[in-house]
């Protein structure tokens, strides 16, 4: 059991830290409100969230396409027309993909259920699937919905859903796997990257599992999962000492029972929520909790977010924001929309985390690998775009608010800016006050101050 945070240690900084990690951060009013709920209340609030489905309807294009019918329409055409049609369709898919990125980032930026989106992002990095191979945006939208549906649910159910996820089946060649020629791609990654971790299985286990995963297909006419019994190898398989006519679900059940499963997932959760090099004792305890909770995520996260270890001073403010966290967090802090579709797409690509384009099935490395001289300068130079572009309009309401509460006192204003961006009034208040002393007290000045404070090493941390 993880020792909980003693109530006496719960302060506003703890609440701000919780919101940064279990969500994407927010303006002071938001973590003030969490603080008032106390640690358990705050964690419950984040776990429960507020359902946002009605607020974020599916993009209009997110419907399956009939591949069979599409190919039939191409058939009678001459080659030139056919290529033009295909080109048109590719362009449409590229446009839809940009929309999808903006749709998800927008949802993360505005949702009243930030922890669910944060976990959806976690699972996207875990069950990484890339549009570099699976080009049709519909599949990614569908997978994103699946990840969201199970985000705070049960890991086993999520793994079984992923076994049937069209994007994953296409990405890891499940659709090419046949009864007599099983493709081992998915079977290997399920063990290496999804459930067990490298070194905890044999090549024989991979081969046997690959047989069990045959027959899990994507229907070209509905773009939905379908099971083709004729393609499924229903013979006897043996892995990890279990024998039988195992199918995909049975294999996943066996993997979930392996001793390396819980520590593997626990470590990933700790790296994502706590720190880059989590102490082994913390990982072991979270792993025990996962087993005790039968891989139910919400109760496991409840224990983690209520633990003393989560609030250690060395943990707080020491996580490098991922590019998505940086964009979404800024939008939430400033209560301003993220940059527009095209700008957003190129910004996330430049800074190294374009959703739906992980570099491989391993997902993103994260941590320090987010930061190079180029990505850091890109973040610094993007501050104006995050503040709403020309004129930095996002700063205006914040300026009005700060002006009203400070009575124009420069140190108080500096504290407000520092508190807003760094959840800490002291971090930048003097430097900010000095800057303000050189400029007229206007919203434009405030905007440039925020821009400068965002162009700092400190702002890249949460």
């Amino acid at each position: 059991m993880l020792p909980p945070l003693p109530p006496s240690l719960w302060d506003r900084a703890c609440a701000a830290h919780l919101l940064n990690r279990a969500g994407f951060g927010g303006p002071p009013a938001e973590w003030e409100a969490l603080w008032e709920l106390g640690p358990q209340g705050a964690v419950e609030m984040l776990l429960r969230g507020v359902e946002d489905t009605a607020q974020f309807p599916r993009p209009a294009w997110a419907e399956p396409e009939d591949e069979v019918a599409w190919r039939a329409t191409l058939k009678p055409l001459d080659e030139e027309t056919r290529q033009a049609r295909q080109q048109e369709r590719r362009k449409r898919h590229e446009r839809e993909l940009r929309e999808l990125v903006a749709w998800w980032v927008g949802r993360m930026a505005r949702t009243p259920h930030p922890l669910r989106e944060k976990m959806t992002l976690f699972w996207h990095g875990h069950f990484a699937t890339s549009a570099n191979k699976v080009r049709q945006p519909y599949y990614h939208w569908l997978q994103n919905e699946t990840l969201r549906h199970h985000a705070l649910g049960n890991f086993g159910e999520l793994a079984r859903a992923i076994l049937r996820d069209p994007a994953m089946l296409l990405y890891l060649d499940g659709t090419r796997s046949r009864r007599n020629r099983p493709n081992e791609n998915f079977a290997r990654e399920v063990m290496e990257l999804f459930i067990l971790g490298i070194g905890h299985y044999s090549e024989r286990d991979v081969r046997e599992a690959a047989r069990a995963f045959t027959g899990y297909k994507v229907s070209p006419s509905t773009q939905a999962y379908e099971f083709l019994p004729k393609q499924h190898d229903d013979g006897v398989k043996q892995l990890f000492g279990k024998r039988g006519r195992l199918d995909g679900d049975a294999v996943i059940e066996i993997l979930l029972g392996r001793p390396s499963c819980a520590p593997f997932l626990a470590r990933k959760l700790c790296v994502f929520f706590v720190c880059e090099e989590p102490p082994p004792a913390l990982v072991a305890t979270v792993a025990q909790e996962l087993v005790r909770q039968r891989f139910e995520l919400a109760p496991t996260l409840r224990t983690l977010f209520c633990s003393r270890a989560f609030y250690e001073p060395a943990v707080r403010g020491n996580q490098i924001k991922s590019p998505v966290q940086w964009v979404v967090g800024t939008a939430r802090l400033l209560q301003a929309p993220p940059p527009g579709e095209a700008r957003l797409f190129s910004l996330l690509r430049q800074t190294g985390q374009l959703p739906f384009h992980p570099p491989s099935v391993k997902g993103w490395d994260g941590g320090r690998s987010w930061i190079t001289t180029s990505t850091l300068l890109a973040r610094y130079n993007a501050a104006p775009a995050l503040l709403g572009g020309k004129g930095l309009p996002a700063a205006s309401p914040l300026f009005a608010e700060a002006q009203a509460t400070s009575g124009g006192d420069l140190m108080t204003l500096g504290e407000a800016a520092s508190r807003h961006l760094f959840q800490n009034a002291d971090a930048a208040c003097e430097a900010a006050a000095t800057y303000l002393a050189h400029h007229p007290a206007t919203a434009a000045t405030w905007g440039r101050l925020l821009q400068l404070l965002m162009s700092t090493p400190q702002y890249q941390l949460a």
Binding site: N132, K133, K362, T372, S374, Y380, N381, L452, L453, P457
Partner: protein
């Protein structure tokens, strides 16, 4: 002594960012470093670099170059049967050896070939070739097997294994975003589309703003802890410092007069000209990366392909001339690659569709000139594509071992036969 340690130490010593990279040094010594570096940057050519001074340049011919219309088997009837409309006539090609000829627009490369500065490796590819631009590019960039997803790039792994803690300028990519080839556990390298974008753009407009920026992004790393023990905040501050120093050095070099060399006024010409100035300017860069796009010639290929090859050839010739004049040609190897070749049989739109194996060019003073690999058959095809006979990872291994003098096994995960091309 451990060769990687040696490389790393020599690397730190010769780097112009030595000051930033060795944070344990007292501040006055860092200043001395900075002064030495300023000197090196000011001089026209690289100061003594010895074995550490070798430079590799990778040039991607993006989109899938039609290798068969680049290096042309003009005696082979099968070529003209497969390419009745877009085949290049015997009389047009620039003959290499009585059986193969270069595309007529590759006059510059023909000159380099005749001068003994060009190697042509034929039939380069890999098993089970992929025909998607994205995936095939990923395979070339990560050196992965076709059925394996590899997160890190082959050059990223080289830096991780052989030059940990290297200067950020150890690798420079002229690109919109980090090429996957550079992706690493600890990413090394600088990426910019133009040097003007590789800087903090709000600088120099308002002294109070600059002061605030300097307050948070100090240029004196004085009290930072040694590398390896850096906390996230220190790591970020150090990266911010590296960014400022390298940005200034690169901008300074890019704004210098290009010297006597004249480059074609194409994007590729400008970029190779910039790389030449960076080499001359004494950057500690071991690997440069750039790309020329547009090779995806599905229709009306002849004009586009000819223009692209012409641009490539003219820019490479100017680059070679410039480096020779600088005395740096012997330090540089440039290697081209393309994610795939194209289908042997032309399509109905006077173009070609995605194919498999293709030729690779290598240019430089250290290259053993001539032809390597076999010219792939035009009658024994797989799915209508030429078969490879040189695995591209053999070329990577050759470049790693013979040029960068690094072990290839930890980078490529397997031992590939080397080619005598270097």
């Amino acid at each position: 002594m451990d060769p990687t340690l040696h490389t790393r130490r020599a690397f730190l010593r010769t780097t112009f960012l030595g000051a930033a990279a060795s944070l344990t040094l007292p501040v006055f010594l860092q200043k001395t470093f900075a002064a030495m570096d300023a000197e090196a940057i000011g001089s026209a050519t690289q100061t003594a670099t010895g074995r550490d001074g070798r430079v590799l340049i990778l040039l991607q011919m993006a989109g899938g170059n039609d290798g068969l219309n680049t290096v042309i088997p003009y005696l082979d009837d099968a070529y003209y049967r497969s390419r009745p409309n877009i085949g290049l006539a015997r009389g047009e090609v620039l003959d290499l050896d009585g059986t193969l000829g270069l595309h007529p627009r590759l006059a510059g490369l023909k000159t380099l070939y005749d001068e003994g500065a060009l190697a042509i490796v034929r039939g380069v590819g890999y098993p089970n070739p992929n025909r998607s631009h994205f995936r095939a590019t990923e395979i070339w960039q990560t050196a992965a097997d076709a059925d394996r997803m590899e997160a890190h790039g082959w050059l990223g792994r080289y830096f991780d294994h052989c030059c940990p803690g290297a200067d950020p300028a150890a690798a420079i990519a002229i690109a919109q975003s980090l090429p996957q080839a550079f992706l690493a556990r600890s990413p090394a390298g600088i990426t910019f589309d133009t040097p003007e974008n590789y800087r903090w753009k709000a600088a120099g407009q308002d002294p109070a703003a600059d002061a605030l920026f300097q307050h948070f992004n100090p240029e004196t790393p004085g009290e930072l802890t040694p590398p390896g023990e850096l906390g996230a905040a220190d790591f970020l501050r150090r990266t911010a410092l590296d960014a400022q120093l390298s940005s200034r050095a690169i901008l300074d070099i890019s704004r210098r007069a290009p010297g006597a060399a004249s480059y074609p006024k194409t994007r590729l010409g400008r970029e190779l000209g910039l790389i030449s100035r960076m080499i001359a300017g004494g950057l500690p860069t071991r690997v440069y990366y750039l790309s020329q796009s547009g090779y995806d010639t599905h229709s009306g290929q002849a004009n586009t392909h000819g223009r692209l090859l012409g641009e490539l050839s003219d820019a490479l010739l100017a680059f070679a001339r410039d480096l020779r004049a600088q005395g740096n040609f012997g330090r540089v190897t440039l290697m081209t690659f393309s994610e795939f070749g194209r289908r042997v049989q032309e399509n109905g739109s006077n173009g070609t569709d995605h194919g498999a194996a293709g030729p690779v060019f290598m240019v430089g003073g250290g290259v053993r000139p001539g032809q390597y690999g076999r010219q792939p058959s035009l009658t024994e095809l797989t799915n209508g594509d030429q078969r490879f006979n040189v695995d591209f990872r053999s070329l990577y291994a050759t470049v790693l071992e013979r040029w960068l003098e690094a072990p290839s096994l930890p980078v490529l995960g397997r031992q590939y036969p080397l080619l005598p091309v270097i």
